[in-house]
C-alpha cells in the first residue's frame, strides 16, 4: 500500500517538475484520475521528460518493459501502469 502511495506521489511531483522544465502550466485544477492527459498542459516533449525523470527516480520505465505499445489517456491510467508494472511490487 505504501509503495503505491509513493509511486503516485512521485508521479505527481515529477509531473509538475516536467511542466516547469517545458515552461508549461497545469491547465486543470488538480491531477485527479479522470484528467485527460492531452488536456493537462503537458505536451509530448513534456511527457518524454516525465518518463525520463521517473525512470531515474523509480528506476524503471514501464512503457519500455511492456511488449505492446500502450498509450494511457487519463492520469489515472498513467499512474496505474506504473503501479502495475513496478518491479518492486
Amino acid at each position: 500500500m505504501t509503495e503505491r502511495t509513493n509511486i503516485r506521489e512521485s508521479i505527481t511531483k515529477s509531473f509538475h517538475d516536467a511542466l516547469e522544465r517545458t515552461d508549461s502550466k497545469l491547465l486543470v485544477d488538480n491531477l485527479s484520475d479522470d484528467i485527460v492527459l492531452l488536456q493537462s498542459g503537458l505536451d509530448s516533449l513534456g511527457f518524454a521528460i516525465l518518463v525520463a525523470i521517473l525512470d531515474e527516480e523509480l528506476g524503471f520505465d514501464p512503457f519500455a518493459m511492456m511488449d505492446e505499445p500502450v498509450y494511457p489517456v487519463t492520469f489515472g491510467e498513467f499512474v496505474s501502469i506504473y503501479e502495475k508494472i513496478s518491479p518492486t511490487e
Binding site: I49, I53, E56
Partner: protein, 240 residues
Amino acid sequence: MDLVVVTGAFKGLGFAICKHLLKNGYSVVGIGRTLTSEYQELQEQYQDYLFHEVFDFNNIEDIKALSKKITSKYGVIYGLVNNAALGHDGVLATMHESQIEELIRVNVQAPIVLTKYISRSMLIRQRGRIINISSVIATTGYNGLSVYGATKSALSGFTRSLARELGRANITVNTVAPGFMDTSMTSSLKGEKLDSIRRRSPLNRMATVDDVANSVGFLLTPAADNITGSTITIDAGSTA
C-alpha cells in the same frame, strides 16, 4: 567535466574521436565489440577519463540495460556520438538477406534505440549533444553500397527530425558526413580506386580520421550552440 559516449570507439574514426575528446578535456565512455591494444594503451594514459563497455549492437534488446549501466556507472551524459557501423559491400542482387538485416540493425536500429535511452539524461538536464556519423555516400551513392548507403541516409534523416523534436530541450542533433578515409572499413580499396578518389578531390587528397574528429569535437563546444539539424561534410571537397 563533460562525459561523452562514443560508439565503435576502439579503432578507426571512433578511436580518433576519443583521442581528440580526451585532449580537449572530456571524459569518454567508448563502446565496441572488440577491445584493441591501442585503446587499452590510451586508457592507461587517461586512467580516470577514458572508460569502455564491450557490447555488440546486434543485441538491440540489451541496449536499454547498457544505457542504464552507463548512466549509473559514469554519471550524467553530455554527448553521444553514434559512430559504430558495418560497411558490408556487395551488389544488392546477390547480397544475403541476413547481411541486409544486420546492416540495418547495427547501422540504423541500434543508434536509434541507443539515442532513445541515452538522451533521457540530457532531457532531464535540458543540455546535450547528439552527433550521428553518416557518409557522403548517403547523398552521392556508390556502386556496391546500396544497403550501406540506405543506412547512412537513414541516419541523416533521423538527425533532422530529432533535431526538431529535442530542440526545445536544448539538445542539438547533427550529422557529420565523412568522405573516404583510410580505416579498416575501406581496407579493401586499393591502388587505382584510391588514386581516383584522390584525383576527384579539389585538394588532391583525402580527409583523415583526425579531420573528422576535429569537426565532431567542434560540435560539442559552446561555439556550436546554435547548430542543429545540419550536416558537416568532410571530404576534401570530393562532393563539391
